[in-house]
């Protein structure tokens, strides 16, 4: 006796398979083995599209880059993919599944922001979104979370952000908020795209950039601690229309607390075939 006809069976089967597959994709094994060092990366992923107008999806390249680098904690910017402009992609989840990591998506899509997310080898605890002062410009956010890293690291606080690039006073207010959030915890890593470029567009150097000065006076620059130069050209590729500001340093990994940066292990990864930024990586010991 047939209970369901072919059409009914098909719809039921497809929906059940969809739900089952979603469950399967959500499984995450835990990592409890102790670690000697942690590699931290920040990467602006350009809404999961490579630089310029070629429009190639860059998720596979990003995943490979992170895998090759062995990064443990990754802060992403421009990670909002849940819009038609980005083909309705849940890129953060895809990366987390591909890399077998935990993820925190970050600010809701309805906020109209460009996305800030976190990937971690270890479980992400108490994540939240903090709205940054953004008067007269796009809403900017920071995500704040804890990651309970196995010994000897213990629980650390992680902040990921993407600051404004158009109004200096707004950017400065946002940086002040980041510093305030960082100082709320004993051990904090604050990373992201800080867009310390506004002053440089006026012909000033990085050391005269108010946002950079504030952050540098309040937090520790892991790139410099690792042996890099503060004004080193590292990350952003501007268009040919603005050749004077090219390969400027606007992505940072700051920290506060009992961390030791491993000297010489700072890296710049990726190129414009992946994103309009490059990934910055540093390595810490406890």
């Amino acid at each position: 006796m047939k209970i369901l006809n072919k059409q009914q069976s098909t719809i039921l089967l497809i929906i059940i398979l969809t739900i089952g597959l979603a469950f399967y994709q959500s499984y995450r094994p835990s990592h409890t083995e102790s670690v000697d060092t942690i590699k931290v990366m920040t990467y602006n992923v350009h809404l999961f599209t490579d630089m310029g107008s070629s429009g190639q999806n860059n998720l596979v390249e990003i995943a490979q880059l992170i895998k090759d680098a062995g990064a443990d904690i990754i802060g992403l910017q421009e990670s909002e993919g849940s819009r038609m402009a980005s083909s309705n992609q849940y890129g953060v989840k895809w990366l987390a599944d591909e890399l077998n990591m935990y993820y925190y998506f970050g600010p809701s899509t309805h906020l109209g922001v460009w996305g800030v997310s976190l990937l971690s080898r270890w479980e992400i605890l108490n994540p939240r979104v903090e709205l940054l002062p953004s008067e007269g410009t796009l809403q900017r956010v920071a995500i704040v979370a804890e990651i309970d890293i196995p010994s000897p690291f213990g629980k650390i606080s992680v902040i990921v952000t993407h600051l404004s690039f158009d109004l200096q006073e707004v950017q400065l207010a946002q940086a002040e908020k980041i510093v305030e959030l960082a100082k709320n915890n004993d051990k904090t890593i604050a990373m992201g795209d800080f867009n310390t470029v506004i002053a440089q567009l006026d012909g000033k150097s990085i050391n005269d950039d108010p946002t950079f000065v504030l952050l540098n006076n309040s937090l520790v620059d892991s790139w410099v601690e690792s042996g890099g130069a503060a004004d080193e050209n590292t990350s952003f590729h501007f268009s040919e229309a603005e050749p004077d500001i090219n390969n400027t340093r606007i992505d940072y990994i700051w920290y506060l607390g009992d961390f030791t940066v491993i000297i010489g292990n700072h890296q710049v990864l990726g190129d414009e075939s992946v994103s309009d930024h490059r990934a910055i990586l540093v390595e810490f010991t406890a």
Partner: protein, 351 residues
């Protein structure tokens, strides 16, 4: 009216593929015009998504409804070229695919009338399944996703060749198309996307998928068992329910009931669509094309505003003012425009 499993599969997969093409078009238009080079002539291709206007010529001069199998074979090759191409060609192929899929969608709608909702439910189910199989990335993301898309195209074409749709009879009037395309617009932008539903307010991905599936299954059950016929007299309540649930879904994240609202919104949307497909809603078959073109123009405006909203600082003054911080309102309007397109159908039921 022809109704068999194969026809529903073919027309359902046609809708699924149309939605995928729609996503590709909007993504590539965005990338080609805002990703680096600035506004350029490729934006004209966006206007070509008013496939209704092409349909008038296709049906009148090419008598496309007598050649639907050939049309499908051509469309299949367009899909293959799309997979292997540079963004501008990909975009062009996606637009061409939308043009070629339109007569298939219209043909199936004319044959199935209100039962076309079954095809739509199948189409959305397939779309969601494909999206989850690809783990919520675009078909261009990797070799695997391209393979999945290729397999779906082969299955689609196989059903089209094995279960060709019956020829159309000349009629005085035809089912209305407006609600169908506005529904497809709503589903593509929001309701059928696990990614959007999971992150609009950040929600548990698995529960989102579960409740999307529950909503579709309930809708299917109500329509398949003909329970919908008893609900037709409550059409105004269905309309009001959809307006309310879509408003709650888009504006609020109500902790305990958020997932139920996902189901209820999807359920109400499908039931409204059933009502919105009026048996004699369009005059001549050319008028279907004309109306469709008009509806698609509204969809273009809506799409542009939704895409522009998160980039309002880069938009010209009036557009910037219109879209600034209005992501929710613009998304709500997508749903409500669809809902109001069903009002004529509701009025007919109440008379």
């Amino acid at each position: 009216m022809t109704e068999n499993y194969g026809n529903f599969m073919y027309s359902g997969l046609s809708i699924c593929l149309y939605m995928i093409m729609y996503e590709i078009v909007i993504h590539n238009i965005f990338v080609l015009n805002f990703g680096g080079g600035g506004l350029n002539s490729s934006v004209v291709l966006f206007l070509l998504t008013m496939t209704g206007f092409f349909y008038i010529g296709l049906h009148k001069f090419l008598r496309i409804h007598d050649k639907l199998v050939l049309n499908s074979i051509l469309c299949f090759f367009v899909f293959i070229i799309l997979l292997l191409s540079h963004p501008l060609i990909r975009l062009s192929m996606a637009v061409l695919a939308m043009i070629l899929l339109t007569p298939i969608i219209i043909h199936a709608l004319i044959l199935q009338s209100r039962r076309y909702v079954i095809s739509i439910i199948m189409g959305i189910s397939f779309k969601e399944f494909i999206v989850v199989v690809m783990n919520n990335v675009s078909i261009q993301a990797s070799t695997f996703t391209m393979l999945v898309f290729g397999v779906i195209c082969i299955i689609w074409l196989s059903f089209g060749l094995k279960y060709p749709l019956s020829l159309l009879d000349e009629k005085a009037s035809y089912p209305s198309i407006s609600a169908v395309y506005l529904f497809i617009h709503l589903e593509t932008f929001f309701l059928s996307s696990p990614s959007v539903q999971s992150t609009w307010f950040v929600r548990n991905y698995v529960f989102v998928i579960l409740m999307m599936g529950v909503g579709l299954l309930l809708a299917y059950f109500i329509i398949e068992t003909r329970m919908i016929e008893k609900l037709l007299r409550f059409s105004p309540i269905l309309l009001f329910s959809f307006l309310l649930f879509s408003f709650l879904l888009i504006y609020y994240d109500l902790s305990y009931v958020r997932y139920i609202i996902i189901s209820l919104t999807q359920l109400n949307a499908v039931l409204l669509l059933y009502i919105g497909i009026r048996e004699n809603g369009s005059g001549s078959i050319s008028r279907i094309g004309l109306k469709l073109g008009g509806i698609q123009f509204i969809c273009i405006i809506s799409s542009f505003l939704l895409v522009a909203a998160p980039f309002w600082t880069a938009m010209p003054g009036p557009v910037s003012t219109l879209v600034m911080y209005n992501d929710r309102l613009l998304m709500l309007l997508v749903g409500w425009i669809f809902a109001f397109s069903c009002v004529k159908g509701i009025k007919e039921e109440m008379n």
